[in-house]
């Protein structure tokens, strides 16, 4: 069993509230849920939609077709009518939209009239819509009531009660007027409720549990909700969230705080990262731990501010002048985003390097369900020297030479030892030098000595499928979910596998898992990327010499959907 609901309308009409409440209710009933949003860069008007797919088995991507289209305006009907599945229904309010449709797929539900009849404020029309949709699927009002009570606790008993009343009225209307819609009736799963989380929330949560104490950023779509999450937790967890005057300030503040002895982070999108790059280089030479979340949107320059693309891979791999080690992590699911954010803080501090978590608008805003996240095996180790341990040291050199290139990272002001760091090339004490031997020793320390150890930390790509596959689908980052679904559908007919990379720099060692051998034996190797030039395919060739037999690239600012991608892959087979 699976259904897709699409809620469409203008910005400001409340489709996000409707969508998010429905997704929450369905996840609490134990369904597997996947949502994605498509919105314009404007606060009011335009056309936006929120799509919810729910099922009794795991779902990790969006479908092209919809079963229920909730149209809050005429554009929604015009734009999305052709996506309706056979037997699907369009829910609308003929009076509000000013048009009555006659086709049997149309369900006219007088949302505004029901709201008015119950004496409720017109803003509650959204609750009527939620009730109607739940009614359509034969679900009850119980979880809606629970959610409204907690989210509207500050609005008073009256508002809560009225919202529940109108939602019930919407549900009753559907049951009384459309009693023959049995095909939509679903059975609640036996499993317990699931957690529902999107990619940006997962990064914020990951930062929180990793002890991030300082977060500086300049708001930029689609990264801003990470900052909002951190600000929301600032009081409870003792975090300073500073809105910087620009991204240059943001990364420099994070470096200052990290120097001061706390775990620090910044988040931005491509344009902001471009501004930060000198700071990334500064983190490199000063060996200051910092975590940067780069949530991509299509460029160049302003591009498509609210849409998605994987166009910045080379930008984060190479952004920042000079040669220094860095790690780039590319989660494919919110759960991976959570775990990899924890790993980012761990590696940043262990090796005193910048670590970049690269995501995109698609992963940022898609909500997924999970039975839970593992918080028992977090990589939380304090690598900084402070207080007693530091006081006990007879001498201290910030850039002392060592076998693994890692020097002691002391917190200034917590002992009599002085901590000096410099963006100039420096000696072991952190003071400026220009002589060649010291320069060579420092490059070797922070780059050549550390790199083999950092490389060992990088996880192998995930391989799912046949061990002698004829077809291997390859991707990195946010396309994990859609690739997994497409793979599962193709596996019924083909000897196929999928290879997905969540840690792309340093590029994973073939000595750990020989993915190149796996690729070489396949007749078809298809690299799927949400960009125009196939940056990951180029990276693969640069690092391993392997060239894919085919590439599928999408650069319209929209995510891959299951059915279209399936068709494109079939064209290659």
């Amino acid at each position: 069993m699976e259904y897709t609901i699409r809620v469409g309308g203008e910005a400001g009409q409340g489709l996000q509230s409707i969508g998010s409440v429905l997704a929450k209710i369905l996840s609490r009933y134990g369904f597997h849920v996947f949502t994605h949003q498509d919105y314009m860069s404007r606060i009011r008007g335009g056309h936006n939609f929120y799509q919810i797919r729910f099922a009794d088995s795991p779902v990790t991507a969006s479908r092209d077709q919809v079963d229920v289209l909730l149209a809050l305006d005429m554009d929604t009907i015009e734009f999305h009518r052709q996506d309706l599945h056979a037997g699907g229904r369009i829910v609308y309010d003929a009076v509000s939209l000013g048009t009555k449709f006659s086709g049997q797929e149309f369900l006219d539900i007088p949302l505004a009239r029901i709201t008015e009849e119950k004496g409720a404020d017109q803003i509650m029309v959204n609750s009527v819509a939620v009730g109607a949709i739940l009614g359509l699927f034969g679900l009850d009002i119980e979880q809606f009531a629970v959610i409204i009570k907690s989210t509207m606790s500050d609005k008073g008993e009256g508002v809560i009660a009225t919202n529940i009343t109108v939602a019930q009225a919407g549900m009753d209307f559907v049951e009384q007027n459309y009693p023959d819609l049995d095909s939509f009736k679903v059975v609640k799963p036996k499993t317990k409720g699931q957690m529902l989380i999107n990619g940006n929330q997962a990064i914020g949560l990951g930062a929180l549990v990793s002890g991030c104490k300082f977060f500086a950023a300049y708001p930029m779509s689609p990264s801003t909700s990470i900052m909002q999450y951190m600000a929301d937790k600032a009081q409870q967890y003792g975090i300073i969230v500073e809105q910087a005057e620009d991204e240059i300030a943001a990364i420099n503040m994070a470096l200052g705080a990290s120097f001061g002895g706390v775990r620090a982070m910044t988040a931005t999108s491509g344009g902001g990262f471009a501004l930060m790059t000198e700071g990334v280089s500064l983190a490199g030479i000063t060996e200051t731990p910092v975590v940067i979340a780069e949530v991509q949107r299509p460029g160049p320059a302003t591009g498509l501010p609210t849409r998605t693309e994987q166009g910045d891979l080379f930008c984060v791999l190479h952004g920042g002048h000079g040669e220094f080690p860095r790690v780039v992590l590319t989660p494919g699911t919110p759960e991976q985003a959570f775990q990899l954010t924890n790993k980012a803080f761990h590696l940043a501090e262990k090796y005193q390097i910048p670590v970049i978590i690269q995501s995109d608008q698609y992963l940022a805003d898609t909500e997924w369900t999970f039975p839970g996240f593992d918080t028992k095996h977090l990589l939380n180790e304090d690598f900084r020297l402070r207080d007693q341990i530091l006081k006990g040291m007879s001498s201290y050199k910030r850039y002392a030479q060592s076998d693994d290139g890692i020097s002691p990272l002391a917190v200034p002001g917590t002992s009599r030892h002085l901590v000096a760091v410099d963006s100039d090339e420096h000696d072991e004490y952190g003071h400026i030098i220009e002589d060649a031997p010291t320069r060579i020793a420092m490059v070797e320390k922070r780059l050549h000595k550390k790199m083999p150890f950092i490389r060992q930390e990088i996880a192998s790509p995930t391989y799912i499928g046949h061990q002698q596959a004829m077809v291997v689908l390859v991707a990195y980052g946010s396309t994990f979910g859609v690739l997994q679904e497409v793979y599962a559908l193709l596996a019924k007919k083909h000897r196929i596998g999928m290879l997905h990379f969540t840690e792309v720099w340093p590029f994973p060692l073939v000595e750990k898992f020989d993915y190149v051998a796996l690729l070489k034996q396949a007749a078809h190797t298809i690299c799927v990327e949400n960009n125009a030039t196939g940056q990951f395919a180029k990276l693969m060739r640069m690092e391993t010499g392997f060239e894919f037999s085919a590439r599928i690239n999408k650069y319209d600012g929209r995510p891959f959907l299951v059915d279209t991608l399936l068709g494109e892959i079939n064209d290659h087979l």
């Binding site: 002890g211 620009d246 706390v262 996240f373 901590v419």
Partner: protein, 285 residues
């Protein structure tokens, strides 16, 4: 008790006769008089001749990027407000490359003391116009004369209600006063800007030690630095007579005082990992 000799550092890489030597020694004397030990403070700097200063005395230091000393200082101070944080910059570093950060550091009012070595020229890059170079001055990169009006850092700071605004002169006659101002600025709770007029023996043959000496004077006894409008009026004085002293100060609340997470304890002293953060996962059910 800390002594001047305890502040002995590396040999500076400045030109002989540079005003920076006097500023460095005066800062050391101010620190000694305040009985501050090297580990109790940090100096953050960017790039330029002035920005090399923290290497020349024992201290915690972060010598970062051109123009970016204030964001680093801000992050450092917010991470550990028990540490005294000084920023040292030149006129190009702070008023040019880092101009935006200065505006917002003043607004934000983190308790940082900023010393700007203002020699009205780019020295490290050998003689181009800086944001404080007079209009019309011919340089190697402004062959038709500098077309821009000079920035007035004091007027700018006062307009932004900067918590502490002062000017001093780094010539021999001005050093005792510079020392007093430095001490006041370090002790002031709030963002403090001290614009220090200095010569550049190599690239500024116009604004020499004597040029300054003939013009600078101290704000008179009885001058009220709490009067913002008067401070603004006096900050506009520049030419035959150049006032020095504390132009303006207010006691407005610092950024740190407004942040509940650090009311009890600096961030850097709080537990590294949250004990109950795992429970946050439950909020997503």
């Amino acid at each position: 008790m800390i002594t001047f000799d305890d502040y002995k550092g590396q040999k500076p890489a400045w030109c002989p006769g540079c005003g920076n030597f006097a500023i460095l020694n005066t800062l050391k004397r101010a620190l000694v008089e305040l009985d501050m030990e090297p580990h109790q403070f940090a100096i953050v700097s960017g790039i330029g001749q002035a920005a090399k200063l923290p290497h020349y005395l024992p201290c915690n230091l972060f010598n970062g990027l051109h123009g970016r000393s204030l964001p680093v200082a801000t992050g450092l101070k917010l991470a550990n407000h028990d540490l005294t944080v000084l920023a040292v910059a030149g006129d190009g570093d702070c008023y040019g490359e880092g101009g935006n950060h200065l505006l917002h550091a003043i607004r934000r009012n983190v308790n940082i003391t900023l010393f700007v070595h203002n020699n009205q020229v780019y020295a490290l890059t050998k003689g181009q116009a800086s944001p404080t170079t007079r209009a019309g001055k011919v340089t190697k990169t402004q062959p038709f004369g500098n077309p821009s009006e000079p920035l007035n850092p004091l007027a700018l700071a006062i307009a932004l209600d900067c918590s502490f605004v002062a000017r001093a002169f780094a010539g021999a006659t001005g050093l005792p006063f510079l020392q007093e101002i430095m001490k006041e600025a370090i002790q002031h709770n709030g963002f403090a800007l001290v614009d220090i007029l200095q010569n550049c023996v190599s690239f500024n043959k116009e604004n020499t030690f004597h040029w300054y000496k003939d013009r600078v004077y101290r704000l008179e006894e009885g001058y009220d630095p709490a009067d913002r409008v008067e401070a603004f009026r006096r900050s506009l004085e520049w030419g035959q007579k150049i006032p020095t002293g504390i132009f303006y100060r207010n006691e407005r609340e610092t950024c740190e005082q407004q942040l509940p997470p650090i009311r009890e304890m600096p961030l850097a002293r709080q537990p590294v990992f949250p004990s109950e953060a795992g429970q946050e996962v439950n909020h997503f059910f």
